[in-house]
């Protein structure tokens, strides 16, 4: 399984702060497995993606395997 962590308003779109999805996942597979509104939202370039705590420079190149954690990160609202 792959853990998807959702931050900020993306958690509202998912209806939960985290999800478990079957491995493996690439970007297309991830989007297909998410609710449509969330799949649409994560295309927005302002929404960043981290794999195992490291930001991806190119989220479309995502390759996640079993045990990995994908974080979906909307723009920060600051401290």
């Amino acid at each position: 399984m792959i853990t998807i962590v959702l931050l900020g308003k993306l958690a509202d779109l998912a209806g939960a702060p985290s999800l478990q999805l079957a491995a493996p996942l690439d970007w297309t597979g991830l989007r297909a497995a998410l609710p449509p509104a969330l799949a649409e939202a994560i295309q927005d370039p302002r929404n960043r993606v981290a794999l195992n705590g490291a930001l991806l420079a190119d989220k479309a190149g995502l390759q996640a395997r079993s045990g990995d954690e994908i974080a979906l990160l909307p723009p920060v609202s600051g401290g």
């Binding site: 308003k9 705590g53 990160l73 609202s77 600051g78 401290g79």
Partner: protein
């Protein structure tokens, strides 16, 4: 070895209990500058909640502290940020810098605060009339950050 205390706190804190020991831990300082931010009593706001992402948020604060030490002549830096549920009037952030000269202490705190407000990995929502609303990034935060790029 410079004194460095960077933390995320999950519970209410009293800034004085951090600032006193921090000042004591930097003997010989010429000045200490401290900023404490509190949850504002904005109209109708009942609560504020800050979410963070463990693998990015605290490492990001350490990276910010590294840059502050590179940019300013500091003896010590304290940077403490709350996460979780807060009420108006509760402290949310405390940054304190100790230096030989005042300008470094004052500017380091200003630098850290602008970056915490505009670029740190926090997501904030506030509760008004029993309903939660996410807070969007503000233009002013980006302008504040741009000051340090010149």
């Amino acid at each position: 070895m410079p004194m460095r205390d960077i933390r995320l706190l999950h519970e209410m804190f009293i800034p004085g209990t951090l600032i006193g020991p921090f000042t004591q831990a930097n003997p010989g300082l010429g000045g200490v500058c401290t900023f404490v931010g509190e949850v504002r009593h904005d109209h109708g706001v009942e609560a504020l909640e800050l979410t963070h992402y463990e693998p990015l948020t605290l490492p990001g604060m350490h990276d910010l502290a590294d840059r502050a030490f590179e940019r300013f002549e500091l003896m010590g830096l304290l940077m403490v940020h709350r996460v979780g549920l807060m009420r108006p009037g509760e402290p949310i952030v405390c940054v304190s810098a100790a230096a030989i000269h005042r300008r470094d202490a004052i500017d380091a705190v200003d630098f850290c605060m602008d970056h915490l407000k505009g670029a740190a990995w926090f997501w904030k929502r506030e509760k008004r009339g029993g309903v939660w609303h996410w807070i969007e990034p503000r233009e002013q935060d980006h302008a504040d950050l741009a000051r340090w790029r010149a």
